[in-house]
């Protein structure tokens, strides 16, 4: 697929966000392309997690949040009154910082999404569970223990269960909020390989505080600082030839 043929999944226009009086995101303009891995990097408190949680409106769980501006997902403003938040989250999956499987069996974890969205047929569910677990590269490890509680496996495996859970409803976009920050290096590597694999079918937006990770797995990188986008470009360019002095300072480890 050539660069020009790709379409934008998300267009963020003049997004501002406040937690009470704290201005957490300032005039964000970003265009995120489909079938790419977009990394969001920046020091703690720069707004990168806030931004990714805005993309599926999970940020609204914080009672004092206010926003202005627009985020167009596939051309529709997600802040529109008639845009159901459940509909948006059915199209946009999310993987969290700490693995958060449901306290149910591995099978029921994966089948949860399809079930709440009305898929009840046991055979179809079996198929979806297997396909999702294979998609998350964990089928071989858990195929004999699908009825065990998801908390009985390791943290790295739990995180891949959470990825499989997101895949089970075949979303369009997968948001990942520092998905490897609670994992050991080997599990991290597995998740990174998985991200590479998944971008063939999904658009992935990943927040990471690990710059090497962003360099390894992403196509585009956005550098956030104090609630603003300092620089957004191809990952190669960001890491080899950044145009902003602050980006250069950050990626060379002078702060953050």
């Amino acid at each position: 697929m050539t660069e020009s043929a790709k379409k934008a999944v998300y267009e963020t226009k003049q997004l501002n966000l406040w937690y009470g009086s704290n201005h957490a995101l300032k005039n964000i303009d970003l265009e995120i392309m489909e079938n790419e891995v977009t990394a969001i990097i920046g020091p703690s408190g720069c707004g990168k997690s806030t931004y990714i949680k805005t993309l599926n409106r999970m940020v609204e769980l914080v009672p004092s949040v206010k926003t202005s501006g627009e985020i167009l997902y596939r051309g529709r403003n997600i802040f529109n009154h008639d845009y159901g938040v459940e509909e948006l989250r059915t199209r946009v999956g999310m993987v969290f910082q700490k693995p958060n499987p449901f306290p149910k069996s591995i099978y029921d974890n994966i089948a949860y999404g399809p079930r709440i969205h009305g898929i009840k047929n046991k055979k179809i569910l079996d198929e979806i569970v297997e396909k999702s677990l294979r998609g998350a590269a964990i089928w071989d490890e858990v195929k004999d223990r699908l009825n065990e509680n998801a908390y009985s496996i390791s943290g790295g495996q739990q995180q891949r269960i959470c990825i499989a859970r997101a895949l089970a409803i075949e979303p369009d976009v997968i948001l990942m909020d520092e998905p490897t920050s609670a994992l050991d290096p080997i599990s991290t590597l597995k998740v990174e390989e998985l991200v590479q694999e998944l971008k063939k079918d999904y658009s992935i937006i990943i927040v990471t505080h690990n710059m090497q990770q962003a360099a390894r797995i992403s196509d585009k990188t956005a550098f956030f600082l104090n609630g603003e986008v300092v620089e957004y470009d191809h990952t190669d360019t960001i890491f080899s030839n950044p145009s902003d002095k602050r980006t250069e300072d950050y990626i060379s480890g002078r702060f953050g």
Binding site: M58, E86, R89, T90, G93, F96, P103, Y112, I116, S152
Partner: protein, 308 residues
Amino acid sequence: MRPSVQEMIAQSNGKKNKKVIEKIIPIILFLIASVSVLTSIGIVLTLIVETVTFFTRVPFFDFIFGTTWLPFSNKEAQFGILPLIVGTLKVTLIAVIVAVPIGISAAIYLSEYASENVRRILKPVLEVLAGVPTIVYGFFALTFVTPVLQAVFPEIKIFNAISPGIVVGIMIIPMIASLSEDAMSSVPKSIREGALAMGSTKFEVAWKITVPAALSGIIASVVLAVSRAIGETMIVSLAAGSTPRLDGDFTGSIQTMTAYIVQVSKGDAGYGTTIYYSIYAVGFTLFVFTMVMNILAGYVSKRFREEY
């Protein structure tokens, strides 16, 4: 120059009374703690001794399988406890039917829907309901609920199982709601977020994620509440009547185990009579019921605990 801090500490530690206090305190605390344990043991022993005396006069099997409870009969007194057990179960059944749906609904509302402000107001109010003296509930059953029921269903008598059942249910709602709410609130927020991020509605999260995750705590709260309902005395003494009966009628006067004990205790059954000993046997039966429920609650909360 003043001595160094270490020297002062050494000096202070050398004082005798400090060591003595450290030795005496645990002994005193142990003795005080023993009082409550010994009291419990004493009560159970008394129960057992008097119950055994009762069984020297009335055969054990006549007691637990007997279908007639006629202790005050002049001709031949009969001590078959089944009618009293049935009376207790009738009241408990109605209480459970009233309290479980309301209590769990209230818990779901408080833990999943109510804002922090609403919860701060509602939870204490709910707990006040738990502090209402049971005699007040008893009057409420007799002078308010029963007349209302009679207005709707004229066949209901002044003493019946339904009215005290409903009021005992109201009494145990706070217990179920409060304990279930605790269990549901302790389900980590991250798990709810995971479900919301899949496009779940709030109710789907509550019903398919939080309630199953908190199920052990919810069941335990229900079992404990049932145990309270079985042991409830004042409400049934006032509003349920004093007619031991084995049938399935809820509209007429019944008698529960607790109400029988009250009836005999406030009457003038002489020390040493069979009736006197019978209240211990009934009390012991009651004790077995509530103990089994409490053990069951402990077992359920361990056995069905979902890990997270």
